[in-house]
Subunit: 248 residues, 2 copies
């Protein structure tokens, strides 16, 4: 398979994409997702894990809010992985992740994930390359465990934005009172490490393919949300689920 | 490597083993283990996982009580895995196990373990052979994760008793008021499945070798306890641990 190079992939919606049509299509998908999620929960045969990764300001929070915000929260759980605690650091890096994997019937969304342990840690030289690649092997084993041993279907979205778009959004975080809470004084420092981040992301995209990545053009929120909703819809409708009927 | 056949391996201490000397040696080992466990906890560099498997009445509880009962409970944790709950069953079979793996500095003991998912389940035909071997692959991946990604050292003991010894002990459970609480009316039914259990145990011993098994002759409690204490002592003393001194 050809190696993925992020610089070669557009962060924009395909040309001539009709924004209004896409937004309407997303709305329709979300209504269908609501029904499919109910069926998933009722049947409890499959588990769904959605991994959302992307640079700062790539639109992870917004994607979760807009695509999943109208689903029944009883069947949907979001886990935002922050910097690991001392207890978490005293275990293997997948220990805290495994605890939050979905039971059958559930949709779990990871806002950041186990991939941070081969991203931010690498850029800041907290781990060397040898350990990073060992971790990527362990991630493949881990995702295979979930897929093969709990009927888990995993969708992994990399929210692909341009550096220019990131800087624009970080700037908005300073100016917009509704966004200031998201601003962190280290954001612009991290942003300078853009080329290093792209490199370690490419390693993930190329090596962690037990479950393939969906590289999601994300400079436009409406297009990103459509891609996420569409992929989840195609997955769920492809499962041919049925309500189980009365218990015997 | 030659295939392990349990019928070829003695369940008795080697001939001419001096029982009193062995008991005295075990006592001495336990005193040393106490010091080593303190060092392990202070340094918090390594994690120790001890897996104890064996047929009903193989002496798992007694081994834990006698070998680990004098260590500081702050650094030692025992998890007895019973039949999985509905919540546990709605996840992959390693989900509940992973939660109880040791933090660095800790000794965790599994009284039964993830191996039950390829033992009792196989004997009772709850899973087919194909899934059983897939699970054994997943177990190897899982143990490698602990070893490579959290400095975990794993000791796996199979407490090897004869069928005759088992029947004798089950009989005692009926007669001895202090042991009656352990008796389960299904015990003798399960015991009839001895050949089937030996076969699935042999598959574990031969296939789950990411970490090798220690086949522990267990018809004599005093000898079994010595083997466990000795192996743990050799592991811990081999780590060349040091007190970390004042924090910088």
């Amino acid at each position: 398979m050809a190696k993925i190079r992020l610089a070669d992939i557009s962060t924009l919606p395909p040309k001539k994409t009709d924004k209004n049509k896409i937004i309407a299509a997303t709305e329709k998908l979300i209504v269908q997702l609501d029904e499919l999620q109910n069926l998933l929960y009722a049947q409890s045969k499959y588990a769904i894990l959605i991994v959302i990764q992307g640079m700062d300001a790539a639109g992870k929070d917004g994607a979760i809010r807009h695509v999943f915000g109208k689903l029944n929260p009883q069947g949907v759980q979001v886990t935002s992985f922050k910097e690991p605690t001392a207890l978490e650091l005293s275990h293997d890096f997948l220990w805290r992740i495994h605890q939050h994997t979905p039971a059958r019937g559930m949709i779990h969304i990871f806002n950041r994930s186990h991939y941070e342990d081969v991203l931010v840690t690498r850029v800041h030289k907290l781990i060397n390359n040898k350990l990073a690649f060992k971790r990527m092997d362990a991630i493949n084993d881990f995702e295979r465990l979930l897929v093969e041993h709990n009927h888990t279907h995993i969708l992994k979205f990399y929210l692909h934005i341009s550096h220019k778009e990131q800087l624009k959004r970080l700037d908005e975080r300073i100016k917009d009172p509704q966004k200031q809470w998201k601003y962190n004084e280290k954001d612009f420092e991290e942003s300078k490490l853009w080329p290093e981040y792209m490199e370690v992301y490419e390693d993930c995209l190329n090596n962690c393919n037990e479950v393939p990545w969906i590289i999601t053009p994300s400079d436009a929120h409406w297009y990103k949300e459509y891609i996420i909703a569409k992929n989840l819809y195609e997955l769920l409708s492809g499962l041919k689920m049925q309500y189980p009927g009365l218990k015997k």
